[in-house]
Symmetry: C2
């Protein structure tokens, strides 16, 4: 198995998340993040304008990929099939650094009210982005809203299964996200 | 028709939301909120410990009522019927002040990044509360997560229809929330 070596950008994100857990988001400085990642402050600023953007950057990429996947799904795809295409497209950009990040980010979010708010806004924004991409395909309002929420739930549940799973397997996130989407579709039959 | 007169607490919330729209959340002081509401600062502090809690207080009540309604639904109720019971219970506590608040709160949230984060956390927290209440009824993980999201969507969509609707009618929020829940249930059949 090829050994995975994170680049400077990935090291910065991992270092930041660990420091947020250890000492809190507010108390963590850019200098500390750079030092922990083994890079200079200038390297930090080549990748991110500030500490906050370090968390937001990934969200914008994720949102764009989900929307592109939904928009690019075949015209005859059902709303959930389009969401599945979005999940596959977004997952294709997620590598070992993202898998590594999962449990650490969860711990950081649990420890900070500010990060909980950011994380909540991320969920709501991703659902809104998927809903809008579905509306653009002509899906009706209630169905688009529901499918957008299902997409976020599937992404979160798939991501948790992937990042908490056995690291030695070569699974990609896409398989887990699609499995979670299938599980949620099946669950929708038992809502009553 | 009886004329509705808001009490000090309602006037404080409405004044605060309007000031947040006009001049931003950060720039708004407790003194300004009290003055706009026509009460003293001491009256403000009898109702709320600070500016932030003025927004959070309503969320905790709402969450508690949703959970109580779900927990109190008959044992044979389906997951969505239990969510419907939660929506009805929470709606019963919503009067003219809440109806009045809807469009203004929406404008305040649209104008402030901080309020967007708070509002997102509110949605995520309400979904988690309903999901946990359903898990406690023995509903399986995926179904409970999905039903919790449906509950939040139904509440939001019902609240929007209610607060944007004709104020002269005597409609209560519960009817709108249940109609939205029905619409979402129907939509789940067209997810594909």
């Amino acid at each position: 198995m090829a050994r995975w070596e994170p680049g400077a950008r990935e090291r910065l994100v991992l270092a930041a998340v660990d420091l947020f857990v250890e000492q809190g988001y507010d108390a963590t400085t850019v200098a500390q993040i750079a030092e922990r990642a083994g890079v200079t402050k200038s390297t930090f600023f080549r990748h991110f304008p500030d500490k906050r953007e370090l968390l937001v950057a990934g969200q914008e990429t994720l949102s764009r990929l989900l929307v592109e996947g939904i928009a690019g799904a075949p015209a005859e795809a059902s709303p959930l099939q389009a969401v599945g295409a979005g999940l596959v497209r977004a997952s294709s950009a997620m590598g070992p650094a993202n898998r590594e990040l999962g449990p650490r980010l969860k711990a950081a979010v649990a420890s900070s009210a500010e990060l909980q708010e950011r994380d909540a806004l991320k969920s709501v924004s991703l659902a809104a982005a998927m809903t809008n991409a579905l509306l653009a395909r002509g899906v009706s309002g209630a169905t688009a809203a529901l499918a957008g929420e299902l997409g976020v739930l599937a992404f979160k549940r798939g991501y948790a299964a992937w990042s908490e799973g056995d690291r030695d397997d070569e699974d990609d996130l896409g398989r887990h996200a699609l499995a979670a989407l299938d599980e949620l579709r099946a669950a929708s039959a038992s809502l009553g």
